[in-house]
Amino acid sequence: MVTAEPPQKAVEVLKTTETKSVEAPEAAPTGETMISVRNMDFNYGTKRALHGINMEIPSRQVTAFIGPSGCGKSTLLRCFNRINDRIAGAHISGGQVVIKGKNIYDADVDTTQLRRQVGMVFQKYNPFPKSIYENVVYGLRINGVKKKSELDEACEYALKAAALWDECKDRLKANAFGLSGGQMQRLCIARAVAVKPDVLLMDEPCSALDPIATLKVEELIVDLKKDYTVVIVTHNMQQARRVAELTAFMYLGELIEFAETDQIFGNPQQKKTEDYVRGQFS
């Protein structure tokens, strides 16, 4: 098995184990480890999907996962907010995933609280059949926020963060399905951002979009890293090069190489990585 070296200088394990507030993005300074995966194995039933993953994902940077289909990059991403729990039989069979000092697979972890801090954007845009406004404030409403001013503020903040404010500030009450595909995906990002999570997971967010919409979302991702730790799964190596500081290459459930993006694409240390980024994979 190939060991994946942490890309940054030695990163200290965070000492605090306490849970954090919603305003958390400011809490972790840039470059410190946000997510730390330690020797993790993951199974779908009896089938092992991930083997001995070790990685340290720094905060407020964009980290990209690349690899051929079925290599487990989406599975790994989905481990970070435990959305994999929805699938019957899916479970972590060894190791830990530590986010801000707490192993999120501990028995006492409240998954709903976890998901409020680790937001997610899916491959296929999936707004709710509600108005644009209601989509954005959904996360706040389920948190029990009722005050109109607070909701309005969060809506404006999130839509601005997702670069959607100018396009739809005049039709917040319109149904979200009236938007274009790219707009809907940005709405989903706004929805995830509205609750101010620490981490934003993106599972191939541009695969259903046309090139222009893709460009817009990519710009947005680069923008978002000012405040959020972004982890993105992508099939598109150019996209990884454009948006990510760090890139992880995965193959058959293993993490082959994890390093700065320039290194992965310019000077890969592993033969498999080299083959893959040069397009010589069979």
Partner: protein
């Protein structure tokens, strides 16, 4: 691609249609296609045939009913009904007063009556047990020359048997010890040839008579008032009966004439199509012989209308008499029942008196020759409040009582079934484990397998009693409509119909929830929503259109259901009395479906009644069509956009 180029001829071969199929000059594909087209066509054709036959039978109703209403007016029956209406009200009020009087007098006579009746029953039972020995004694008496010792022996045997039977009797606890002894002696001594009934029986009867007299005396004022109430109507009844007789005779004549007209038309038609000239001449002669004297409606109506001033003169004394009678009725009865009845009468009385006072004015405005347009036959059907058939006076086909019954039962069923089935669907789809799902779904769908007649049977034998018993529990009396009078009522029917609709609604609602894209729930959970929040904020709202369609299709099933309502709804043809509020649901009713099932088998084909039932069928059909139409619209309108 093949290596070497195929020759053009062989390539072309494959493109030619196979020449025949079973020797027919058609290819297999189009034959199968035509088979499917034919199947669809047959289905649609059948639907059209059903609609056609319904409409054909039903539309004939309007002219028929128009004619009947015309006769009703021209013969003066309508005129008589102006008088009949206050009379009917009077009868209803009177029956209430009578019940009130009985309830009051019963308090005094009840005990004596019970004592007397229990003894009578015991005597009957003992006589039955000793019947054979009694016969023996009678026979011995009748046969001349029976030795006295033999007679004495028979008497002795009878007395012994009497004693045993008396010992077996369990007398109710209404007699004191002295009376018990007396009873035992008297009953044991009973002989078939005794000239008088046992002495004790006579005593008890006398006691009852005395009590009855006392009661009558005590409530003399009340009784007198009731009597006065009854007598006040007598002159009016007399007058009404007199003119009703006349009107009815005219009506009969009109009906006869109508039938004769029909017969003549038939004869003429037969003459048209007759084969030989002789036959034709015969038919024509016969048609000629049919007398068609025009009925002199005007002449016949005059003596009826002439009674109007007489009737008008009767009204003020009547009103005065009723008012006087009501003054004698006590303010409140001595029993709860009587008080309730008296209060009811007092409440309804002003309305009744107004009706009576207004009737002459209505009759003055009435005209015997005012025409009845065809549309009035339709409105009388759709908005008429009476469904009266096989009446010796006049048949009315007003569908309102049936329609309200049907709709009310449907609403009750829906109110019960909707929350149950939707909640069950949400649970099964969202919360149940796969094992539970496997268990719940077949069980709920199994309900559909119960034949509706069996459900009706359960409604009569189990649910009816259950409702009645529950309604008598004292601490449940705050529920409107309790205690329930009728075992078979709309609530009972609604309950069973709900049960029948649940499988349909559950399955469709479950499908609707299942069809909500997984992406929605995933997105919601990724935002930190709990399962419940996801279900109620995202999944259920997204499935609403499907749930609504499920509700409407369930409603369609409920409205069209026949057997259960026929058996369980109580079949009282009357518009429910909505003054009971929610308690109205415990009244019996009849329904559109039930009336067809009940009456269609018994009416003669082609009669107005028959046609009216077809009209009811058309109405039902339209309701179902409307429900289906709306549900399709709703599903289309609120369909989730495809993403």
């Amino acid at each position: 691609m093949n290596e070497d180029k195929p020759s053009p001829s062989s390539d072309f071969q494959g493109l030619i249609k196979p020449p025949s199929f079973f020797g027919l000059r058609v290819d297999r594909q189009s034959l199968i296609k035509h088979f499917f087209t034919g199947s669809a066509a047959v289905t649609i054709l059948t639907l059209f045939l059903i609609m056609y036959s319904l409409l054909k039978e039903g539309t004939g109703f309007l002219p028929t009913y128009q004619f009947e209403l015309k006769v009703y007016r021209q013969a003066g029956l309508e005129f008589c009904d102006f008088i009949q209406k206050p009379l009917t009200e009077n009868t209803a009020l009177l029956s209430k007063l009578n019940r009130a009087v009985n309830a009051d007098t019963a308090t005094l006579t009840q005990k004596a009556q019970a004592r007397r009746d229990a003894l009578f029953l015991a005597k009957g039972r003992i006589e039955e047990k000793t019947a054979r020995l009694r016969e023996a004694v009678t026979e011995a008496l009748e046969t001349a020359g029976t030795p006295p010792e033999k007679l004495a022996q028979a008497r002795q045997a009878l007395t012994e048997a009497n004693a045993t039977a008396v010992a077996e009797e369990a007398f109710p606890d209404v007699y004191n010890a002295e009376e018990r002894r007396q009873i035992a002696t008297d009953l044991t001594a009973m002989q078939p040839d005794a000239a008088e009934p046992p002495a004790i029986l006579k005593t008890l009867s006398a006691e009852f008579t005395e009590q009855d007299r006392i009661a009558k005396e005590k409530y003399a004022g009340f009784l007198e008032a009731v009597e006065a109430f009854e007598e006040a109507t007598e002159p009016i009844v007399e007058l009404h009966d007199g003119i009703a007789e006349l009107a009815k005779a005219t009506k009969e004549a009109a009906v006869q004439q109508h039938m004769a007209e029909d017969a003549k038309a038939q004869l003429l038609a037969a003459a048209e199509s007759a084969k030989t000239p002789e036959a034709k001449a015969n038919f024509l002669k016969e048609a000629e012989a049919t007398s068609l004297e025009a009925i002199d409606y005007k002449g016949k109506i005059e003596p009826i209308v002439a009674k109007l001033p007489e009737y008008e003169a009767m009204i003020p004394p009547y009103v005065a008499a009723i008012k006087a009678a009501m003054e004698k009725v006590p303010q409140k009865g001595d029993t709860k029942e009587a008080t309730a009845l008296i209060n009811e009468v007092r409440k309804q009385l002003p309305k009744h008196l107004t009706h009576a006072e207004q009737s002459p004015a209505l009759m003055k405005a009435w005209q015997w020759d005012k025409p009845i347009p065809l549309i009035q036959a339709l409105t009388a059907f759709l908005f008429g409040g009476d469904w009266i058939t096989n009446s010796s006076w006049q048949d009315f086909y007003g569908v309102v009582p049936l329609l309200t019954g049907s709709l009310l039962i449907a609403v009750i069923a829906l109110v019960i079934a909707l929350p149950l089935s939707v909640a069950a669907a949400i649970y099964t789809n969202q919360f149940a484990t796969p094992r539970e799902q496997e268990l719940i779904k077949p069980f709920i769908e199994f309900i559909q397998a119960i034949p509706s007649v069996v459900l009706g049977f359960i409604g009569i034998s189990v649910v009816g009693d259950l409702i009645k018993e529950t309604s008598n529990i004292p601490w449940l009396q705050w529920i409107p409509g309790f205690p329930v009078q009728e075992r078979l009522n709309m609530f009972n029917a609604g309950l069973l119909l709900a049960l029948m609709a649940i499988p349909t609604m559950f399955s469709l609602a479950e499908d609707a929830i299942q069809n909500v894209p997984r992406a929605f729930s995933e997105a919601s959970e990724a935002l930190g929503a709990t399962k419940l929040q996801t279900v109620f904020r995202v999944i259920f709202p997204a499935s609403l259109s499907g749930v609504f369609a499920a509700m409407l299709l369930g409603l369609g099933r409920i409205v069209g259901e026949t057997m259960v309502v026929l058996l369980v709804a109580g079949n009282r043809i009357a518009i429910p009395d909505f003054s009971d509020g929610i308690g109205t649901v415990f009244q019996p009713a009849h329904t559109l479906t039930g009336i067809i099932a009940q009456e269609l088998g018994e009416v003669s084909k082609g009669s107005s009644h028959w046609q009216a039932l077809f009209m009811v069928g058309i109405l039902l059909f339209s309701i179902s069509l409307f429900i289906n139409f709306v549900s399709r619209k709703v599903v289309k309108r609120f369909q989730l956009p495809k993403i």
